[in-house]
């Protein structure tokens, strides 16, 4: 049997569509591998027991002469914060124990319309709050390159699923770096599209004005394939944007002549591991130059306020978004109740983990009367200034190259007791969310310890294609992305 798990999603879809390969065989290969590897990784928290039936249905559909969609038979892992009808969806929180949504997220519908094969739910930081995937109710996820280390977060399970070859594609959500940072730490590609590019309908909200769903993949073409299916306007999400969507698989570039790539000096100095710095300089900048790109320094002077603004906006919105988990309507209810207030207080105190409670309290405080102007409102002004920085920068460059994460994957427990240090993991990623701009993280090499190093391109609004093309041409001129963990 072919080692399907090393195969690209594009290849799988093509061959299932043509009838060359059976969706059932592919599904079985991946299920076997998940059975074998997931225990040591904890990337998937639920594998559906009807995956083979679903795969058979795809094969049957083809056998009945019906054309298959663009994701035909491609196994896909879904982060546990995207609603699937009648399937447990818990955001890896105790407070949603037993919760089965009565509806599908738009991205789920779109994947199913294209005959993608959803395998199960991937692990994540509780309610997407974390940078190490250590806050999950279902336990930490292990980095496949070193199982003593964290995979990054919050979409740690989805990153590991692709990194370890448990699925060729997975979906994550990115509020401050939750796709890109784990992608970097696990040696895969992860993209946060422009805010409004992918419908948020059915994504359990953490911070509504920052959240965006995006793909994990090993290959840029695979990311393009998945983005093709999930991007686009959705009348169920008023923040989704009704503009034309390109075919992300088309128009691949073969040269970077005339391309201008910005680098941000301040991002490459203070706080960045030297190893990451030299890797980006040697492995990325040099390759880009050799392909004809011009490297131009740009400045993002307000980005230094990014982390502060992010933790005000995100926690404020979270404090409101998570109010609905009250023990009344669905999910977990404390047994220790005697009146309405005790239902609220005890269900929430027992149902949420400490990081979630910390962020709810932070957000509640910053929205309180008398503090709103000073905190939340000021943070929204900072967002505008950060966006303005980018707008000026994009007058001179096509994309901006930065590190994704200041460090490689750290040891489990290393930063758990120091939230501020943990929050700084997102220092290079939050500004995309604050400004709404798309970002893509890709593997560009490895540390001496053999840990993946990620670099990030940021593009102008709705320039996802530009980013995919840049990574695509980089892949053709390097081989870092082909290095898989030894598990």
């Amino acid at each position: 049997m072919i080692d399907f798990y090393k195969t690209s999603a594009v290849e799988i879809a093509k061959n299932v569509k043509s009838g060359e390969w059976k969706a059932v065989d592919i599904a079985q290969t991946y299920l076997d591998r998940i059975n074998d590897k997931n225990k040591s990784l904890n990337a998937f928290i639920r594998i559906y027991d009807d995956v083979i039936e679903s795969a058979q249905a795809i094969d049957d559909k083809r056998n009945n002469g019906k054309p298959l969609g663009n994701l035909a038979g491609v196994p896909i892992g879904i982060k546990d914060n995207m609603c699937e009808k009648n399937r447990l969806t818990t955001a890896c929180s105790k407070i949603l124990s037993g919760y089965k949504p009565p509806y599908n997220a738009t991205v789920i519908d779109k994947i199913e319309q294209q005959d993608g094969l959803i395998i199960g739910k991937t692990n994540m930081d509780e309610f997407a709050m974390g940078s190490s995937n250590e806050t999950s109710f279902y336990g930490a996820v292990n980095n496949p390159f070193d199982t003593d280390r964290i995979p990054g977060g919050s979409s740690g399970g989805s990153a590991v699923a692709v990194s370890a070859g448990l699925t060729p594609l997975s979906l994550g959500s990115d509020t401050g770096g939750s796709i890109r940072q784990p992608a970097a730490l696990c040696g895969v590609l992860g993209m946060k599209p422009t805010y409004g590019r992918v419908s948020r309908y059915g994504l359990m909200a953490y911070s509504s004005s920052l959240d965006q769903i995006g793909p994990f993949a090993r290959y840029s073409e695979d990311a393009a394939l998945l983005l093709n299916s999930i991007a686009g306007y959705d009348n169920k999400d008023s923040s989704s944007v009704d503009i034309e969507k390109p075919d992300y698989l088309e128009n691949k570039i073969t040269s970077l002549k005339g391309k201008k790539i910005g680098i941000v000096r301040s991002f490459m100095d203070e706080g960045l591991s030297t190893e990451i710095k030299t890797t980006i300089e040697n492995n990325v900048i040099d390759v880009l130059k050799s392909l004809g790109a011009e490297i131009i320094e740009v400045e993002l002077p307000h980005s230094k306020f990014g982390i502060a603004a992010y933790y005000l906006v995100a926690t404020a919105e979270a404090s409101s978004n998570l109010g609905r988990y009250d023990g009344i309507h669905y999910g977990f209810r404390s047994e220790n109740i005697n009146d309405l207030e005790s239902i609220y207080v005890n269900s929430r105190s027992e149902g949420f983990g400490p990081e979630v409670i910390r962020r709810i309290l932070l957000g509640t405080f910053s929205l309180s009367a008398g503090y709103y102007e000073e905190y939340y409102n000021k943070a929204t002004k900072v967002r505008r200034l950060i966006l303005n920085d980018y707008i000026s920068a994009f007058k001179n460059v096509d994309a901006i190259l930065t590190p994704t994460s200041p460090t490689c994957a750290f040891k489990k427990g290393e930063k758990s007791s120091n939230p501020i240090e943990m929050y700084l993991s997102d220092i290079y990623t939050v500004c995309n969310n604050l400004s709404g701009l798309p970002g893509i993280s890709f593997n560009c090499g490895f540390s001496k310890e053999g840990l993946p190093i990620g670099a990030q391109f940021t593009g102008n609004v709705f320039e996802e294609n530009e980013l995919l093309q840049l990574v695509n041409i980089f892949e053709k001129n390097s081989s870092h992305h082909l290095t898989t963990p030894n598990i």
């Binding site: 609603c83 059915g202 359990m204 911070s207 169920k236 923040s239």
Partner: protein, 475 residues
């Protein structure tokens, strides 16, 4: 010391759209609990609100009808609090940028016209409701997400009579513009009153008390009267008025403090990130403006000044827009306003009341109704027969009245010779009346007319009857 009261009203009005504010669920009243719900209005994780554009249109129409400044930029905000009838733990409302500011409602207290000023109108979603049973409380979310506008007046009233009129006239405007059915029993119109008192002439307002549970305009009036007296007495007894919410106790006619341990709420308002701002262009505002109905008070004044109707008739005709519309449409066919007014306020109204229907369900078309009036006017049929015999058949069949008259043989008798015969017969039978008439006792004519009408089965044209009697007596 003399005191004066300051009153402000907050009116919640359910807009009459078929579907909810942010989802496609229906707004039908009195349905099976939780049957009119979907993941969005149940507040399921991951769901997002999508504005019902019709609601915004209705709201803007209401705002224009009340004379508000419609804001070209407004936005939604979240009001965060916990209650089991609020599944998202926040209400989507408008906080610092509501869609309508200012405006006013005209009132008329004993001939003194003035405008009660409005502060603002905001769009917001309703919560569900709790049903308390012996086994515990149940949540019904059918109403959750129902579109409301909250109309907030300035503290610009000082008596319960002003408040009552404000409400009556506000309701009339809302109904006139068909933005709400304003059914208080179904909760589509609700009112809270803010009341304070202060010594006459004092500038700063007294401590305000909010009164809720006011299910009719009369309760609002009674509660205000009660509160004013209570607050003045409290102050005179040396007590301080505490800022609180009180409930109107209908049975005992008193207000009672609402049992709530909460102090001032901090609702942690912030802009709703799931909804874009509401932007309106001048063109859009103008378009909605063109659909706004003529204000009921203005219409009434026009009926009095242009059509020479009495204050009483004009009031009745403008009470509800469909009646005023019926009247004016009829007027186009039959230009006798007073006649039409009489028909509407008597015969037609009695019929509608008896059937418990509105004029929009009145079975007789304007064409047939005005034909009947024309037939009376030209003497084809006499009015009494029209009212007693033709009208009941007309509401049954909505046939052409000429046909009814024809088939029922109800046409008036205008033939002088025939009528003269009846008159002579009547006179022959009633010499005393004839003598009285000859002696100038005009009242005696009635009995002869009555006999003629009886003999003619009511069909003799009364004008001709009278004329012939006069002729005979004077000859």
């Amino acid at each position: 010391m003399e005191f004066e009261a300051t009153i402000g009203l907050e009116v919640h009005c359910q807009l009459g759209t078929n579907t909810k504010l942010f989802c496609g669920c229906t707004t039908l009243f009195a349905q099976e609990p939780n049957s009119q719900t979907c993941p969005v209005c149940l507040g399921h994780p991951g769901t997002l609100p999508v504005l019902n554009k019709k609601v915004f249109e209705y709201a803007v129409k209401a705002g224009l009808a009340i004379g508000c400044d419609i804001q070209k930029f407004s936005k939604f905000d979240r009001k965060n609090y916990y209650y089991p009838d609020l599944p998202k733990a926040y209400q989507i409302t408008q906080f610092d940028k509501p869609f309508a500011l200012k405006g006013g409602i005209e009132i008329n207290i004993k001939g003194n016209k003035r405008v009660v000023k409005l502060e603002r109108i905001q769009i917001e979603e309703d919560a569900g409701k709790l049903i308390h049973t012996a086994d515990g409380s149940l949540v019904d979310l059918n109403r959750a997400g129902t579109p409301l506008i909250e109309i907030v007046s300035d503290p610009d009233m000082s008596t319960s009579e002003e408040a009552y009129q404000y409400l009556v006239n506000l309701k009339k405007i809302l109904k006139y513009n068909e933005v709400s059915d304003c059914e208080m029993q179904e909760g589509s119109l609700r009112c809270d009153a803010n009341i304070s008192v202060k010594p006459i002439g004092q500038k700063e307002l007294g401590t305000k008390v909010e009164v809720k549970n006011l299910n009719s305009f009369r309760y609002v009036q009674a509660a205000i009267d009660y509160e004013i007296v209570r607050q003045i007495q409290d102050i005179q007894n040396g007590n301080k008025i505490s800022q609180e919410t009180r409930l109107w106790d209908v049975d005992n006619g008193v207000t009672e403090p609402m049992r709530s341990k909460e102090g001032a709420h901090d609702y942690r308002f912030f802009p709703e990130p799931d909804l874009p701002p509401l932007i309106l262009t001048d063109k859009e505002i103008e378009k909605i403006k063109s659909t706004v109905a003529e204000p009921p008070l203005k219409r009434k004044e026009r009926f009095i000044s242009e059509l020479k109707l009495s204050e009483y008739d004009a009031s009745i005709l403008t009470e509800e827009k469909p009646i005023a519309d019926y009247f004016e449409n009829a007027l186009k066919e039959f230009n006798k306003p007073k006649e039409i007014a009489n028909w509407i306020s008597n015969d037609i109204s009695s019929y509608l009341n008896e059937k418990k229907i509105g004029i929009d369900q009145f079975p007789v078309s304007i064409e047939n109704m005005t034909s009947l009036w024309k037939l009376i006017d030209d003497g084809t049929i006499n009015k009494k027969i029209a009212k007693e015999k033709v009208f009941p058949l007309l509401v049954e069949s909505n046939k052409n009245p000429s046909e009814i008259i024809e088939s029922e043989g109800l046409a008036g008798k205008n033939d002088s010779d025939e009528i003269r015969k009846w008159v002579e017969e009547a006179m022959a039978k009633n010499q005393k009346a004839v003598d009285d008439l000859k002696n100038g006792k005009d009242k005696a004519k009635g009995s002869i007319v009555g006999m003629v009408m009886k003999a003619s089965k009511g069909l003799a044209n009364p004008q001709i009857v009278n004329k012939i009697i006069d002729d005979i007596i004077n000859s």
